[in-house]
Every structure is written in structure tokens, then in C-alpha cells.
């Protein structure tokens, strides 16, 4: 039957491999990093070298995909706070989301955002906001979900 079609391709890049792994501490948070960009691991390990003490034993998962097809525009950084999500965008092509309840940082970076900028500016911005917001929010389920 020719109507049976090929499976839908991974248009959302959900299954993009992230083979490079590292465990680092940034802004006091232990992070288990997975990425497809080795440069990100290098930069995070360099940033991590200056850290002294971890706030917690339980690491946050950081999964970041370098997306070469993302729109390569550069614009202001926008942080959207919508508990339990903290969303950081840079233009159209870079979005990083911290899910405070699930303790996961998931993101896609365009080519215009360097690994150094991610490790030294964008990720610490989200983690600092996490410190500010988490103590004031209900734990467990979100008030805003249906």
C-alpha cells in the first residue's frame, strides 16, 4: 500500500545527539552537561575552575544543542519569568529554558552566540534568577498549570 509513508522526520531536532558530557559547578550549582558542541564543554570547564563550593548535591541537567540552522540574528537578551519556567532568548535563534521544578536547562544556540558567552553570561544569568525566584515559589506542582 503506497499510502503508507515514511516516518515523520525529526523536524524539531528533538533527537539531536549530544555526545559531549561534563560535570561542572557554576554559580554554585552542580551541572550535568550534555551538548553537541565540544567548545561549550571546554568553556564551562574553564568557568568552573574558578568555582569553590557547590550549593547542592543534586545536579541540574543542562542539555544544549548548537543549531547551525537557527536564524543567525543577534539582539538584546530577554528573560521571561513564568514559574516554573525561566526562558532566556537572544534574538530569534537562541533560546534557553530553565525548568525550575524539573531541574533541567534545555536550550538551542545559534552560531552567533559563542560558547564563551553561553558559559560566562547566559547560563549564569539564568542560574542567578533561579536563586532569586525558587525560594519564593511553591514547590512541587505549579499553580499555573491546568
Amino acid at each position: 500500500m503506497t499510502a503508507i509513508r515514511e516516518p515523520v522526520p525529526d523536524l524539531l531536532r528533538r533527537f539531536a545527539p549530544t555526545p559531549h558530557l561534563a560535570n561542572v559547578v557554576i554559580e554554585g550549582f552542580p551541572l550535568a552537561v550534555q551538548t553537541n558542541d565540544l567548545q561549550i564543554i571546554t568553556e564551562m570547564q574553564r568557568t568552573c575552575a574558578e568555582e569553590v563550593k557547590s550549593r547542592s548535591d543534586s545536579p541540574l541537567l543542562v542539555r544544549v544543542v548548537r543549531d547551525e540552522d537557527a536564524p543567525a540574528d543577534d539582539a538584546e537578551v530577554v528573560v521571561i519569568s513564568a514559574w516554573p519556567l525561566l526562558i532566556l532568548t537572544v534574538g530569534t535563534g537562541t533560546t534557553i529554558v530553565l525548568d525550575c521544578e524539573r531541574r533541567e536547562i534545555l536550550g538551542f544556540l545559534s552560531l552567533t552566540v559563542s560558547a564563551e558567552r553561553f558559559a560566562e553570561e547566559l547560563l549564569p544569568t539564568l542560574l542567578k534568577r533561579f536563586c532569586d525566584e525558587a525560594p519564593n515559589q511553591p514547590q512541587g506542582t505549579s499553580e499555573k498549570t491546568v
Binding site: 499510502a3 543549531d67 521571561i80 530569534t92 533560546t95 524539573r102 538551542f108 544569568t125
Partner: protein, 326 residues
């Protein structure tokens, strides 16, 4: 410089309830424009949804920017859709919630909501709210639904319009949303215009009165509003048959049985693979797909004008319904 946006109940004081392809959607927003634009989707009395999700829309005046080409990403339970730097949607599948920051231009863009955002929302969140989007048309006769699937270019829309013009009730010519309750399947349409390629004018001369325009996928097409089909348009029905449309070599019409596993493979291949973080949702979706594959499944082969298939189907469905009533 970093710009900050806070989305919380205090910043979204307006709300409205929508019904979208089998789901109930609670909208919270700071914009009267959004509420006005979504008014046509307002929930009707007696509506029984398969599931529900929420949509939080904050309209910002920082940028006056219309719709740009979309870019999509997904990781774990999140899907992100960007339509330019001022228009971003985050679909949280695990929490059945959509967060959006958009410009005033997008807030009032009816076509954007009707043809892009709400269908995308059902495509992304559907499985989480008990609704499976299937790439098929849906028509009905006496309340019994007929799903018509087929490869791109097989003629789903042409046959759908021909069936509608011969008295079948119209739900959809492209995507149909299936839910299950109490063991019974329900098919839902979104009242989207039928899209006909320019060469279909030879079968439907009345199309000469309609412009050919680039559709949302940039393909040149006639877009025929459902109210112009000359038949009843419904938002839901109980599907009974699942047809797989193929073009034949001769001007005739044949119907051959299709095994459930073939039907199931078609449905499974028309939905996106879900990540391991959404296993429970994938299992719910699989149960609905199994039910779809147990409809009465047939391969419909025809060539020539769609009237040939319409006559063949009318004859076939007449026999099928007679057998059931006998």
C-alpha cells in the same frame, strides 16, 4: 542589556474559554485584541472535550513586529516556536500549557491563530490532551465518519470537495484530530478552508471565481472557505471507515480491504516520535492509534474525475450501512 518580562496571573487579567479540535483551552492574556481574535473559537454549550490545556499570552509593546518565518525546536517536554524575535511560544507538554510573548500585530492576525498557531498547538499538545492529529480528510454521512488518507498529491482534497458537493458533511480535507472516550472514537475538524491545487479547476469550474494564492506552505492553491462548499460543515463525528486513497491506471473505482496493521503503520508514521521523557503520553497516543486502525479499513483506487470515486463510494457505503442495519 537584558529586558525582563514577567508572566503570572496578575499580568494576564483577561480570560476566555475555547474549544479546539476536541480539546478545551483556557486562555489568559493581557490583550483585548487576543480575546477578540479568538472569539470564533469560543466554547459552546454542551461541549465535551477529550482534554484541556492552557494558553498564556502576553502581548508586549516593545517591538512592532509582524510574523516572520517560523523556527521550531523541541527537547524533552518542551517545544519552542519562534516567529521572529518578538513572537515566541513555549509549549510545555508535561504541564499542558503554552506560554507566549507576542507583538500587537500577531495578536490581531486572525489567519495566524486560525491556520498556524491553533493547529500547531493541537499538533504539539494533542497527545497530552488525548487527541491524535492524523493526516487525513474527514467527511460524514448520516453522522458516520469517513477518514480519507493518502500520500501527498493523491487527491484527498479533490475527493473531499467532490464528496461535500454531493451531500456528504465536511469536517476536514487535510488534518483530522481523533480522540477516544468510553471506547468510542470521535473525529474533530477545525473548519479550515479546503486547499485545492490549480489543476482541480478542470473538475470544479466554479473555482474560476476564486483567486489562486500562495498557501501557508507557499504552494499555489485555491483556498475554498468551508461555507462555500455548499454542504453542512460539522466540527465532530464518529468515524467508521478509514480509506487509503491511491490513483489507479484506469478510469474505474475499486475498494480492497486493508489489514489493521497496515492502517496502524500509516497512523504511526504520520505522527512525530516522542522523547523518552513523554512515555506516558506516547502510551495514551498509542491506544488511540490502535483504535483508529480497527475501523473498517479499505484501499480506494481510482483514476479520472473525482465523480467516479464519489459514485463508487456512495455505492460501497450504501452496502456497508445496509449490512450493519440488517
Amino acid at each position: 542589556m537584558t529586558r525582563e518580562i514577567v508572566i503570572e496571573s496578575a499580568t494576564l487579567p483577561l480570560s476566555c474559554d475555547l474549544q479546539v479540535a476536541g480539546a478545551f483551552c483556557r486562555v489568559s492574556t493581557n490583550s483585548h485584541t487576543v480575546r477578540h481574535t479568538l472569539a470564533k473559537w469560543q466554547r459552546r454549550d454542551g461541549y465535551r472535550p477529550a482534554g484541556q490545556f492552557s494558553l498564556q499570552v502576553q502581548v508586549t509593546n516593545e517591538k512592532r513586529e509582524g510574523r516572520a518565518n517560523p523556527h521550531f525546536w523541541g527537547l524533552h517536554h518542551l517545544v519552542i516556536a519562534s516567529f521572529g524575535s518578538a513572537n515566541m511560544f513555549v509549549f510545555d507538554i508535561a504541564r499542558r500549557n503554552v506560554l507566549a510573548t507576542i507583538s500587537e500585530e500577531i495578536a490581531g492576525d486572525q489567519l495566524f491563530w486560525d491556520r498556524l498557531l491553533l493547529p500547531i498547538a493541537m499538533g504539539v499538545l494533542g497527545a497530552a490532551v488525548g487527541v491524535v492529529p492524523v493526516h487525513c480528510a474527514c467527511l460524514a454521512i448520516d453522522g458516520a465518519g469517513l477518514l480519507i488518507a493518502g500520500a501527498s498529491g493523491a487527491g484527498k482534497s479533490t475527493l473531499s470537495v467532490a464528496l461535500a458537493r454531493s451531500g456528504f458533511t465536511f469536517l476536514s480535507d487535510d488534518w483530522t484530530y481523533l480522540s477516544q472516550s468510553g471506547g468510542e472514537l470521535t473525529a474533530h475538524g477545525m473548519s479550515v478552508p479546503a486547499k485545492l491545487l490549480p489543476d482541480s479547476e478542470r473538475f470544479f469550474p466554479f473555482l474560476a471565481g476564486y483567486p489562486i494564492r500562495p498557501a501557508l506552505n507557499e504552494e499555489l492553491a485555491f483556498e475554498l472557505p468551508t461555507q462555500d462548499l455548499g454542504t453542512q460543515v460539522e466540527l465532530s463525528c464518529q468515524p467508521r471507515w478509514f480509506l487509503f486513497l491511491e490513483r489507479g491506471a484506469a478510469e474505474d473505482c475499486r475498494l480492497d480491504p486493508v489489514f489493521p496493521h497496515e492502517a496502524r503503520q500509516y497512523v504511526e508514521n504520520s505522527v512525530e516520535r516522542l522523547p523518552p521523557q513523554l512515555t506516558d503520553i506516547a502510551e495514551r497516543r498509542a491506544a488511540i492509534m490502535a483504535a483508529i486502525s480497527h475501523l473498517s479499513c479499505w484501499k480506494l483506487t481510482y483514476d479520472g474525475p473525482p465523480d467516479i470515486a464519489v459514485r463508487g463510494l456512495q455505492s460501497f457505503l450504501g452496502r456497508e450501512r445496509f449490512q450493519v442495519s440488517a
